[in-house]
Symmetry: D2
């Protein structure tokens, strides 16, 4: 049995699926729409069980998933959705111990997952130009106990990044095409680059600047998440869905010693992202 | 400048985007459709630059992304796609240091990413009933230097899992509904459970057994990945796409002390997975 | 210049895109949220121009599209969406002069388009078991001047349809699998059959009964409609979309003189609905 | 029982789902990969039954659906897919008796459906600049007995269309933005305009020119068609799908007497194309 400890980040979920994320702190209270919880009364309780407000209303006491943490982050900007973040982790190959640079920090959603994924031996450096955003993000990261893995920088990235030979870099800014040169110089050659923009016009602009600055293996994609009503005998997709969050663009900064191929045919690789082919060798 | 070292897992990508993943081993050779590479000639070369076969054909020398690793795994079974694995990481909240159980091992695709994500301080226990599959997976994991993070078990999970109080568990088997009881008993209460099945009928069966065994917060979804041709002035989705890999099902094993709500209305939560609401509190 | 005539069905669209569909009738008034229109003042006005309420608020006077007619039908049941109806027309090959049977009538949305498509020389026979629904549908059809092309029947189709040798038949009922025998006997051999159901479980049930009753060339599909914000320099999909309306099932009633093929392989034809192949011959 | 008559357009479908569309002509033969059919032996046979080649291989004798006709048209250009054509019919409100103009003719796929939908009392005028394309289209239309409803014009539409006060017009050309002025002048005010282009950049260009020329109620959308394997106990989407054919753009030519609204907010209407609202009135 795993029990909730002081300092743990937990989630309380009511019958109406209203949820609250909190860090258990002795002496504090949580006020919900269905009554009050004393943190002290939650500390020591078994995770996955029901706990009750002073009014007797039941809530499940849970460890929040990464998906929950992102969805419920306090924000004053558009955040990157978990569906997109999951795929970013795969393409940027984020793993324990590596160093990742991101700009801008925003509300700290992606920052949270990056900090979690690089682990205590890794490092996330996060640039932001707006102080209020940075403060919000820092508060969000502190709340989940991950702030010490982040180096927050308040800076216009037009001036460039301080770091070099960086493993991976992600641009979540309205005009990433203005910073692809800076990104190229910050990344180690062959590093991992990604960006997210909401409109097709932005994708085109970014593609032009990535080609110009020396990025190759460029891919553009969208991740769509379709939920189903989990009713066994009436299984069907939900009526509505989030139809668009943004286009994801990935690429690798390379150093080319031969002229590029004349045709773009190789780019059409992504037209058929078949997993069937096995070209690996030892 | 980061250079390739003996023992590194690297990727060679030709002009035609044919790629080869290999572990650099002094004295070995790689035979490609465009000529031969001596591993010794690759060791010490800068990542992100072009290297040449004995015939003079250029290939880029790169660190493979996690996406690349999965796509090019040697397999003799259907693998879980990176688009799905990324989202599984978000819902199962896999992070450095945790213990994850999976069954079956298959070709080891998900195993690879889990091993990477839990890091050297975490642990992956992977059950498989077919010895040939397990051997293939072990070989795949050894090739990328992650085998030592995995405990491989050759076992029919109908007998149950050896572990208890496990953080997260994933079932990638044709009949997960037969093992939800075992999964429930292995997971810590409130832990993270996930599964993937290709057909709607399997989803229904799994949902029934999850409800029966004590899982709550059940969600069913599909992740769709749509690629675009990365041509700035002719931006368009690719003509074809992978339209279906599988349905993802997630849930949390809970211990209920009050009767469940009479209606299923709360389940419709997933109908509108809006991220706009901020219910978090401190 | 085309002008609106008494008896015409027109649409008035305000600046806020609120729209009103009406049949121009001398002496009548339309009350909108922005003021009143006298029908007499609209009669004789040019279509595609602005007209003004008694308060001076502008509305465009337009001929409603078929899409508009369906979207704004008065309803007390779920209607079939235009995206689905358009594809139904293609698969059922509805065209001027043919006879189509449908059940149930519902609010008359599909009935409206069928009536329009078969033209004055064709015929639509529409079965409904609920009198209130039939009355609503009849009123909707009268409003758009198409009621005389419909034969409304108040009948439980469990008793069978009156017609035989029918060109095409569509079942929009909750339990179409109970009526596939009746449908088979009503259709001419080789005729066109279609149905729409919202859940996967219903699809499975319907497929079983279609096979049993002698339908072949069975296809199951979904039509998804994704809107974009029509802003040239910020082109992007809309944030939300209708993610599901229903599954469409089509088939042809055949008379088989040889045993069916042993494998289902041929069914996988639909797996790759490539239009590239040209097998036609003269 | 409906039997095949001389002059009928029929389809023969083999066990492997290979299909042949032909017009029954006394004295002719059809050579298939499984043997020969004498047209005379097919004339008088019941539709929906099996017929046999001289080698004894069975084929079903069917009336082709509109979907079949389009899919199997002889082509030397990209055609518009049935999924798109069905929705075009709904938005352009094509129905018996109306006049529709299209450019270019291409292989005649859309032309075929338009000719069918307007019926013998309607009219389709189809412009094409390439003579070889026009010849192919005419042959395709003749084969299905619809050529006499089409007025084919060999003309560069930069010179304008001959017609005025046209009900509906569709542009299927690579540069529709060059012809929106001509389209506006050809359509009756308030008429129905549509176009299809494959890339996002083309959509943007077309939107700019439509606004400039006086089109309003502009919508941009994509129709996606997802097939399922029709296996009742293993229901699942097909593995691959056609992911993109083109973007559809619709609009109405209007005559504006008041300045347009300052904000674009009304355009966001399409963001939520809810059918729930019922603004209709009598």
């Amino acid at each position: 049995m795993t029990t909730a400890q002081a300092g743990d980040v937990v989630q309380l979920v009511g019958r109406d699926h209203k949820h609250f994320i909190l860090r258990l702190t002795p002496g504090q209270q949580l006020h919900t729409h269905r009554g009050i919880f004393e943190h002290d009364a939650l500390i020591g309780r078994t995770l996955g069980t029901e706990v009750f407000t002073h009014r007797g209303d039941p809530f499940f006491l849970l460890q929040p998933s990464t998906d929950d943490l992102i969805r419920e982050i306090k924000r004053n900007s558009q955040i990157i959705y978990p569906k997109d973040i999951g795929f970013i982790l795969m393409k940027l190959s984020v793993r324990p111990g590596v160093t990742v640079v991101e700009a801008g920090t925003g509300s700290g959603g992606l920052t949270t997952v990056l900090a979690q994924a690089v682990g205590p031996t890794g490092c996330v450096i996060s640039y932001e130009v707006r102080e209020d955003m940075q403060n919000l993000a820092r508060k969000n990261l502190e709340r989940v106990g991950l702030a010490d893995r982040i180096t927050f920088k308040l800076r216009d990235i037009a001036e460039g990044f301080d770091e070099t030979d960086v493993y991976a870099l992600f641009l979540d800014v309205p005009n990433p095409w203005d910073y692809t040169g800076q990104a190229y110089r910050t990344l180690q050659s062959g590093g991992f680059f990604g960006s997210l923009v909401p409109t097709a016009n932005q994708v085109s602009k970014l593609l032009v600047s990535m080609r110009r600055e020396g990025f190759d293996f460029v891919e553009v994609c969208e991740v769509l998440l379709r939920y189903y009503k989990p009713v066994p005998d009436r299984l069907r997709p939900t009526d509505r869905m989030v139809a668009h969050t943004g286009f994801l663009i990935f690429g690798r900064p390379v150093i080319r010693s031969t002229p590029p191929p004349e045709t773009l045919e190789a780019q059409d690789e992504t037209d058929d992202p078949d997993l069937a082919g096995d070209n690996s060798a030892e």
